[in-house]
Symmetry: D2
Subunit: 337 residues, 4 copies
C-alpha cells in the first residue's frame, strides 16, 4: 500500500501517519520527493485497516498495491480452475455451450428446445424458473413447477441444468433440481444471496452486475468462495453504458482480462447483453475467438410466442447454424467443441 | 403503443401484425407513410402482451407511450405523497434531514452523534446495522446489537430511525426496531427483498441503483407499492459513470425530474454519492436548492476512527455549520427547516 | 414522426399542434387513446422543422421514426460500399489489415515495421504524423517529416497509407502523402474538419467518438458524405465507460449493428480500445469473428522504446502469430485474408 | 511516480528497471514487500519518460503521484484566478450570469433578449454564430452576421459577449467581435483549436467534453494556458451517462471538485446539460449553492419559435424569476449577485 501525502503536508502530519501505521504492526518506507512525500507500507495485507486513514490530516490518497481478492485471483491459484460435473468440464479444453429458453413455459417448449440443443452439441440446459424483471407487471416465472420440468429434461437428455436463484430462502429448493445455481446480474451485489449460494456447495454461475468493474466482479466471486465453494463460473453479460441500441454493451475485453486476473472459468451471454437475436451469432463467435470458456444463449422453439425476452432468442435452426461455426472456430484458439 | 414496421415490410406482414393485435382485444390505427408504416394501438395498457411481438417479421420497433409504472407515477396520483411518522412529515413543507454514522459501532459513538444531530435540527437518525460491502473482508455491521442501540437512541432523543435491511429473512427483525426500512442501492434490483419490504407495511426508503435509470427506479418503487405500501421515499445517491474522482456521480437533475414524474418524496445522499466529506456540504445545499425533500448524510463524532466510510463523514461541527446554511436556503425554495 | 401529447392535454392544444403541422405542409393522423393522444405525421422528412415544437404546450414528446441520416444508412443504399484503392478492396470479401506504429518516429522504425507487416499480409500502413494527445506535454508527432517517411514506405512496400489529420488547414498537405485520411476519435464531433475531409475527395477513416452512440457516429459520416465523398470507413475503437482496467471499452456489438444499419465498411481498432498489447490478439480475432471488414493495429519493432503508446503495440513476432489465426478464422465467416 | 512490479518479477527485471530509471536522471527507492516490489521514483516530473516503460517485462503498473497539469492546478497557483473584463470580475465575489439565445437568429430576437437579461442582472450575453450540430441537416448558425449583431448588442447594452469558435481559421474573426471565446464540448479534445485560442490572448471559456474526466478537462485548459493565456473559464455542462431522460447528466460535484483542484473560475450550463427548460431554474440554484462562480443559460423571447434548442430555453419571465432566487442564494454561500 502507498500513502500519498498532500503537497505541503507538515512533518508532524507525516510522523503521525507513520506512527499510526506502525501501531498496526506494519512497516513504513517514506520517500521524500520534491513536491510530495509518499509512504510505502509493507506487512500483512491489512488494507481494511489502513483504508480507514483515508481523509486524515495531510493524507491525499491511499493506493492499494495488492489485489483485494485472495481466492478468486490467479496469483494465489495460477492454474485454471476446471469444474467437473458428470463428465462435463467447465474451464477445460472444451468450449461449453449452455442453451435453452429464457423462461421455462411448458413441458413441450422446454423438451423441444432441450432435445435440439443437445443434438447440436450443447452440454447444459438453461431455463428460468424464477425471473427477476424490471417491471412487476412482467412474467415472473413458473417457480418450482419449472424446476421439475428442468429436472425431467435433464433425465431425458442428459444435459446438466443451470437455473437462477433469486431468494436466499430458495437456495435449498433450487439445489434439489439444478446442477448449477445462477446468480443474476441484478443480484451480483446481493451478498446475502451470494453467501447462501456459497454455503450450498453447488457450483455457481455468477453474472456480472451491469455497473460492476471486473474488480468488483471478482470480489463478488470471493463472497461465494470464502464459504468454501471454489466452483464459480463468471459470466460476462454486458454492462450499462450510454449506447441504447443494444440493451447493454457486451464487454468482450473482459474475457481475456478476467482470464488473466483469475483462474475461474469465464463464459459469455450474448443474448442478454444485446437483447436482439440477430446479434447472438456474431457475438458468440467473437466470445470464443476472444478466449471464453463457453457461452450461454437463449433458444426458443417459437421465439415469437415466448413469454419472456423472445426478441433475443435464437430459433432452433439458428442455433444449429451457429454451432457449426463455433465448432470451426474452437480449434483455431486451441479449444474443442 | 406504436409499432414501427420496417421499410419494405410487406402488406402481409402488416396485416399479420394487425390481426394479432386485434386478437389481444386492442384496436389499431395504421398510418401508411412514404417510407414506413406505423401502427398506433389503443386499448388497455397491455404493454407486456404486445412487447412479445418485438422482433416479429416486418417489425422494426415497438415504442411504448404510457408510463410503465402505475402507482409510482404522478399521472395516477397528482398530489405529493406526504409520509407522516410521529409528527415528522416527509415530502411536506419541511426539509427533512436524516443524519448519523455510516455504521453503528458503539453506544457512545451512536449517542454522541444522535444528540448532536438532534440539537442541530435533524429529525431522523441513520446508522447501519447490516452493511453490504463490496469486499467480504470489510466490516459488515453489528447486526441486531446495532438495532438495539438505534432503538435506545430513538428512545432518548425522539429521533426516528432509518436503517438498512439486506435479507428478506430479516425484514421482521428490522421492523421491530426501525421506523423506516432502507433498501440499499445494491439491492434496488433485488425484487425478493422489495416485495418483503412492501409486505411489511413499514415506510421504505429506496436507494437508486447505480446503473438504474429514473424509469427503472420508479419501477422498483412500484414493486413495493403493489404490495399495498405506498409510503416509499426515493433516495438519489449517485450513479456509475466514467468519472472516478468521486465514488459515484450525483445525478442532481434526478431531483426535479423525479418530482415531476412521481408524487413520492425525493431525498439526496451526498455522502455515498461522493465518498469525500468536503463535498457533502456543497452538495447538500445544492440538493435542497434543486427541490429535494430532504437529505441523508453521514456524521461521525470521530471520522478518522470510523469502521466504515470514515472519509465521507462530516464531523459534528461540520454538520452544525451545514445546517445553518440549509436553514437559510430552505425558505428561498419555499420550504422550512 | 409521432407527437405524443401529455395526459390531460386540452382539445385546443391538440388542435393547435395539428394546425401548426399542417402549416409545414405535412399530414396528420391523430389517435385518441384512453389516456393520451398521439399524432402521427406523414410527409417529407422534415424532422428539423417539427423538432422545434418539442416543449410546446401540451406536447410531451416527439418521436422520430425515420433514420436521421440519409446517405450513410442502408435503407438508401442496400448494397455494401466497397472502397477500391490500387487493388485493395475495403468492405469486400477480403478482410483488410492496417498495421504500423502509433507514431512515425524514424525511417528505420517505420521501414522495419512496414516490411514485416507487408510480409505478414497487411495491406495498409498506419503511422501518426500529427498526434493529438490528452496532455500537451506528450509527444505530438513529427508532422510533415513523418508524412514523407510514410510516402517513402509506400513507395518501397506497395502498402497504402492511412494517417490522421487534425487540422482543417492541413487536409491538403496530408492528401499529398496519404491514401486514406483518418479523423481521430477526439475529432469525430469536429464538423469543420469533417467537412474539409469530405471536400478533399480522399477516402476517409472516421473513428468513433468515445461518447458517441452508433447513431451519432453515422451522422458524423453523413457530414463527410454530403460533401460528395462516399468513401468513408467507420472504425470502432472503444467507448468511454466506468470500467478502468482497459483504456476504453471495445463495443464489439457495434460491428454487426453498424453493418445492419449502414452500407459503409466497418473496422476495429483493438489497440486504442484497450491500451494493453496482450489484449490485441484476442480482440482482433473477435472483431473478425463478429463480421468486421478489417482491423487496424499498432505494431512496433521495439514497443518498449516507443515514443507513443508503446504499451499497446504488438511486437513484429506477435503480429505474425496473430495473422496466422486471423487467416484461419476469416473463411469461417465467409471472408478471405 | 511509483512503479509496481508483478508478483514473481525476477531480481534481474527489477534491476533492469532501476538502471533504466537512473539513466533518465531520476532517483529510485525500491520497497521489497512480501508479495510485490514497488519502486518509488524521485526527481523532476518526467512522467512522459517513465510512462514509456509501462508494459516492460516485470512491470505491472506505473502510478503517477503528481498532477499531470502544471498551470491549471491549484498547487502551482493557490489563489483563485479572477478574470477582469470591463469591470466584470469572473471568479471573484460576484456570481456572474451569462444569458442569451442558443443561436443568434435576428436583430430583434437578440436585442429583446439582451435588454431583458441585462435588466435582470446578467453581465454577459451569450449567442451562437457558429453552431456545431450532431446532424448536418440542422441549423448551423448565421456566421459573421451573427457576430455583428452580438457586437451591436454589446454596444447598446454594455453586456460583454461570449460566443463559440469552431474553426481555427476563424479565431481572429471571432476575436474582432467577442470578449470571450467559447470552445464547445465537442471541441474540448480539438487541440489545434485550443492552441489557436490560447494564442489569441482572448479570455476563453472551455466547455467540458461529454466523456472527459475532470483531469482531462484540466489538461485541456493546460493546452490554452501554455500558449501564454491564463484567462480560462471552465464550464461544466453535463457528461454522457446511461440516463436518457436528460440530454446529459450535470456533474454538480465537479464544481467543488474543480474549485479544489484548480484556481480557474468554474461556471455551469444547465441548459445544455439537461435539454429541458423546466430543469434550468432548479439546477441553476443548485450550481450556485454548490459554489459555482456563475452560470450560462439560454433565454429566448419566444422559445417555441427558436431555430435551435428551443426546448431548453427559458422565457424572459422565467429568467427574471430565476434571477430573484439566485440573488437570495448568493449571500448564503458568501457571494454577491
Amino acid at each position: 500500500m502507498i500513502i500519498v501525502m498532500r503537497t505541503g503536508a507538515t512533518r508532524d502530519q507525516i510522523d503521525n501517519v507513520i506512527d499510526k501505521v506502525h501501531s498496526f504492526g506494519l512497516r513504513t518506507h517514506p520517500i521524500f520527493g520534491v513536491q510530495k512525500t509518499v509512504i510505502g507500507i509493507v506487512g500483512d495485507n491489512k488494507t481494511q485497516v489502513v483504508e480507514k486513514m483515508r481523509g486524515w490530516p495531510g493524507i491525499e490518497d491511499i493506493i492499494p498495491i495488492l489485489q483485494p481478492y485472495k481466492f478468486a485471483g490467479r496469483e494465489a491459484h495460477p492454474e485454471n480452475t476446471v469444474i467437473e460435473l458428470d463428465g462435463v468440464r467447465i474451464g477445460g479444453d472444451e468450449v461449453v455451450v449452455m442453451a435453452g429458453p429464457c423462461a421455462v413455459e411448458s413441458e413441450e417448449q422446454l423438451m423441444t428446445a432441450a432435445r435440439r440443443v443437445r443434438a447440436a452439441g450443447a452440454r447444459i440446459l438453461r431455463g428460468g424458473a424464477f425471473k427477476p424483471r424490471t417491471s412487476p407487471y412482467s412474467f415472473q416465472g413458473l417457480g418450482e413447477d419449472a424446476l421439475k420440468l428442468l429436472a425431467a429434461a435433464r433425465e431425458e437428455t442428459g444435459l446438466l441444468v443451470v437455473t437462477e436463484v433469486t431468494d436466499p430462502r430458495n437456495v435449498e429448493l433450487v439445489c434439489r433440481y439444478a446442477d448449477i445455481l445462477q446468480v443474476g446480474a441484478r443480484n451480483m451485489g446481493n451478498f446475502v444471496l451470494l453467501t447462501e449460494v456459497g454455503r450450498s456447495g453447488h457450483p455457481a454461475m455468477l453474472k456480472r452486475g451491469p455497473s460492476s468493474t471486473v474488480k468488483d466482479f471478482l470480489l463478488a466471486a470471493e463472497y461465494v468462495i470464502i464459504e468454501g465453494n471454489r466452483d464459480v463460473i463468471l459470466c460476462e453479460r454486458g454492462i450499462t453504458t450510454f449506447e441504447t441500441y443494444t440493451r447493454n454493451t457486451l464487454d468482450i475485453s473482459a474475457v481475456p482480462v478476467i482470464k488473466g486476473l483469475s483462474h475461474l472459468p469465464v463464459i459469455v451471454d450474448p443474448s442478454h447483453a444485446t437483447g436482439r437475436s440477430y446479434l447472438v451469432e456474431p457475438l458468440s463467435l467473437a466470445a470464443i475467438a476472444a478466449g471464453a470458456d463457453g457461452i450461454i444463449v437463449e433458444v426458443h422453439p417459437d421465439p415469437d410466442a415466448a413469454l419472456c425476452d423472445g426478441p433475443q432468442a435464437l430459433t432452433l435452426d439458428g442455433f444449429d447454424s451457429m454451432m457449426a461455426k463455433l465448432k470451426a472456430i474452437a480449434p483455431i484458439v486451441g479449444r474443442t467443441l
